[in-house]
Amino acid sequence: MTTTTDVTGFSTESGSRRADRMRLFAQPAAVVVIVGLVLAWAFSRDNDEIEAQSIQAGVLLTKTWEHLVITAVVAAMVVGIAVPLGMLLTRTWARPAAPAFIGIANIGQAAPVLGVLVLFFLWTEWEGLWAAALPIAFYSLLPVLRNTITGIESVDPALVDAGRGIGMSSSGVLLRIELPLAIPLILAGLRTSLVLAVGTATLAFFVNGGGLGELIDTGYKLNRVPVLVVGAVLAVGLALLVDWIGAVLEEYLGPKGLS
C-alpha cells in the first residue's frame, strides 16, 4: 500500500524506508562478495594435506548446511514456544506468572551458552542436532518471548475494548487484533534470536552437533589458519544473511496500514 498521496507525514517515512530498502540489497551483496573472495583465496592457495581435507566444496557445504539446520530448528522452536507462551502470559489470568517466565528466559540468556550446552549434555547424555538445538533455543528464547509480551501489551486497550464491545470473543481479539499488531515487535525479537542462534550454533560441535564451529575448531587445534579463517568467515556471512532474512521478514510480514 503506497497509494497515499494526500496524507501528511509520509514523506519522511518513505525516506527512511528507502534507506532500509538499500540495506536490503547491500547486505547480501556484501556477504556474497566477502565470502566469495575468502573462498577464492582459500581454494587457490597451496593447501597442505590437512588443510585440503577441510577446504573442499563437499565439506564446506555439509558444515554450512548443518549450521543452517541447527539455526532453522532453533528458530522453529523459538517461534513455536515463545510466541504461544507470550500470548498466554498476556491473558489477564496468567499475567502474574509472566515475570517468572521472563526470569527463567533471562537466566537462559544470561548463563554462558557453553555452560548451558554442557550441562544439558551431562544431564541428557544426548549428542547431535537436538543436543545442540535445545539448549541454543533456550538461550535465544528471551527476545521473542519478551517482545511477544511487550508487543501484545502495547496494543491500545481501546482496540481490545472495541473488539470485545462489538462482539469478538477474547480469542478472536487475541488472534485478529492483538497478535497482528504485535507482529512487528515479535519479528524484531525473532531477528535478534536468529542472530544469537547462528552465533551460538558454532558451539554445537562440542556435542557432536556439527556446523561451522567444527572448521574453526579444526583450524585452531591443528594450527591451520586458512581453515580457521574459512570457518569463521562462513559463520559471519551466515549470521549476516540470517539477519538479512529477519529484515526482509520485518519489511514484508508486518501488518499493513500502520504507517
Binding site: 482496540l159 472495541a162 500502520l258
Partner: protein, 388 residues
C-alpha cells in the same frame, strides 16, 4: 406518539443496577433504575467520573453488574452469551477504536463476519453503510484508518457499529475527540440517520449542549450515577429539578431552547418562486415572475436542489438559467435547529433556503419565523407551564 410504526429499536430496562468495582468501597453505579424507550436517543450526561461509562457498559456487559437486572427488548441480558449479545448491540467509542491494520471495509465487515453472513452480502452491506455515513465506497473502501481524518474515522466507527443492523446502539463520547465543526456535522448526521433507523441509542457525554441537541430524553446523572433528572431536553431546560441540574444546564437556557426546535417544527415559508434551470428559459421565468409579482426566484437543478437566486432584472440579458444571479450560500435542512437556521439567515442576509432529506428545495425561512418562535416560547414559559 404517532410515529412508532417503523421503530427498529427495542426498549432497555435497568432495574436496581449496581456496580461495585473490586477494591473500592463506594459503588461506581448505585441502584440505578431507568427505562430507555425503544427507538429513542437517551443521553447519559454528568460530570466526569460519575459513572456514565460504567452504566452504559453494563448494558452490553463489558462490565458485569454487581447486582440488579438489565432487560433488552424483554430479554434478560445477563442470561445471554455475552459475545452474542454484543453482536446485536452497536458499540461506538471515542476515537472510533478502528482496527488500524484493517481497511475501512474490513473494519465495517467485522460484525457481519462474526454473524456468518456470506461474502456477497457483507460486501453489499459495507458499501451501503459507507453510503449511509457519507463516505464514497470507491474512494475509501481500501483505505486504512490512519489515512482518514478524525471525523472520517468516526463515521467509519458509526458504520461499523450499525453494520449488522442492531436494534440498540451504545455510544460513549463518540464525538469527544474531534474539532467542534466536525462534531457539529457528525451530530447532524447522527440525527439524520436516526430519523430513518429509529434505533434505541444510549449516548454518553459530559457536554450538556450535545445532550440537548441529540437527546430525545436526557438523564442528568450525579455521583454514582444517581439520576437527578430524567426528562426531555425541553422540560429540563424549562424546569431543572434542582440547583445541581440548573448549574449543569448553565446560562442561556432559553437561547438553548432554540437549539431544540427544528426547522420542520416551525412554519417556514414555501411560497418562493422556483424554476428548474434545465426546463425553463430566462424569458419564461421572467414572465412567471412578473405574473406572480416577485422580484426574486430560486433556480433549482434537475434533482430540485437549490442552485442560485436570480433577480428579475438579471434575466433580460441571460442566455440560460445555469449561470445567472447569485449562488445560494448556507442551506438549512428541515433537520437543522433554529439556531443553525438563524445563523444561515444572518449569513444569507434575510432568507435561508430550506432543503429536505435528499437536499431538495422545500421552502425558505426568514428572521420573522425565528423571532415569532422565540416570542412563543417566552409566552409559554411566562404562563408557567413547564410541560413539554
Amino acid at each position: 406518539m404517532a410515529d412508532n410504526d417503523n421503530v427498529s429499536g427495542v426498549e432497555i430496562q435497568l432495574d436496581h443496577v449496581t456496580k461495585r468495582y473490586s477494591g473500592s468501597r463506594e459503588p461506581a453505579v448505585k441502584d440505578v433504575t431507568m427505562t430507555i424507550p425503544a427507538g429513542k436517543i437517551v443521553i447519559l450526561v454528568g460530570p466526569s467520573g460519575c459513572g456514565k461509562t460504567t452504566t452504559m457498559r453494563m448494558i452490553n456487559r463489558l462490565i458485569e453488574p454487581t447486582s440488579g437486572t438489565i432487560t433488552i427488548g424483554g430479554e434478560d441480558a445477563l442470561r445471554l452469551n455475552a459475545d452474542e449479545l454484543r453482536r446485536k448491540i452497536g458499540y461506538a467509542i471515542q476515537q472510533a477504536g478502528l482496527f488500524p491494520h484493517f481497511t475501512v471495509a474490513q473494519n465495517i465487515a467485522v460484525v457481519p463476519g462474526l454473524l456468518g453472513w456470506d461474502r456477497k452480502r457483507i460486501e453489499q452491506r459495507v458499501d451501503e453503510m459507507m453510503d449511509l455515513v457519507g463516505l464514497d465506497p470507491a474512494q475509501f473502501r481500501t483505505r486504512y484508518p490512519r489515512q482518514l481524518s478524525g471525523g472520517q474515522q468516526q463515521r467509519v466507527g458509526v458504520a461499523r457499529a450499525l453494520a449488522a443492523d442492531p436494534p440498540v446502539l451504545l455510544m460513549d463520547e463518540p464525538f469527544g475527540a474531534v474539532d467542534p465543526i466536525t462534531r457539529g456535522n457528525l451530530q447532524d448526521e447522527l440525527l439524520r440517520l436516526q430519523t430513518d433507523l429509529r434505533k434505541t441509542i444510549v449516548f454518553v457525554t459530559h457536554d450538556f449542549d450535545e445532550a440537548v441537541k441529540l437527546g430525545d430524553k436526557i438523564a442528568v446523572l450525579g455521583e454514582a450515577s444517581t439520576i437527578m433528572q430524567y426528562d426531555t431536553p425541553e422540560a429540563i431546560l424549562a424546569n431543572p429539578a434542582n440547583d445541581t441540574v440548573a448549574g449543569f444546564v448553565g446560562a442561556g437556557a432559553s437561547l438553548k431552547q432554540l437549539t431544540l426546535l427544528r426547522v420542520r417544527d416551525v412554519n417556514y415559508n414555501d411560497d418562493a418562486l422556483t424554476a428548474v434551470s434545465e426546463d425553463t428559459s430566462p424569458a419564461q421565468l421572467r414572465s412567471r415572475m412578473t405574473e406572480a409579482g416577485k422580484t426574486y426566484a430560486l433556480v433549482l437543478d434537475g434533482r430540485r436542489r437549490p442552485q442560485r437566486w436570480v433577480h428579475v432584472r438579471d434575466l433580460s440579458t441571460a442566455a440560460s438559467l445555469a449561470a445567472v444571479g447569485r449562488p445560494v450560500g448556507d442551506l438549512v435542512s428541515t433537520q437543522s435547529t433554529l439556531q443553525d437556521a438563524l445563523e444561515a439567515i444572518l449569513a444569507e442576509g434575510g432568507n435561508a433556503v430550506v432543503t429536505g432529506t435528499r437536499g431538495e428545495y422545500v421552502g425558505t425561512i426568514d428572521i420573522r419565523t425565528v423571532t415569532d418562535t422565540i416570542q412563543q416560547i417566552r409566552e409559554e414559559h411566562e404562563t408557567g407551564s413547564a410541560a413539554s
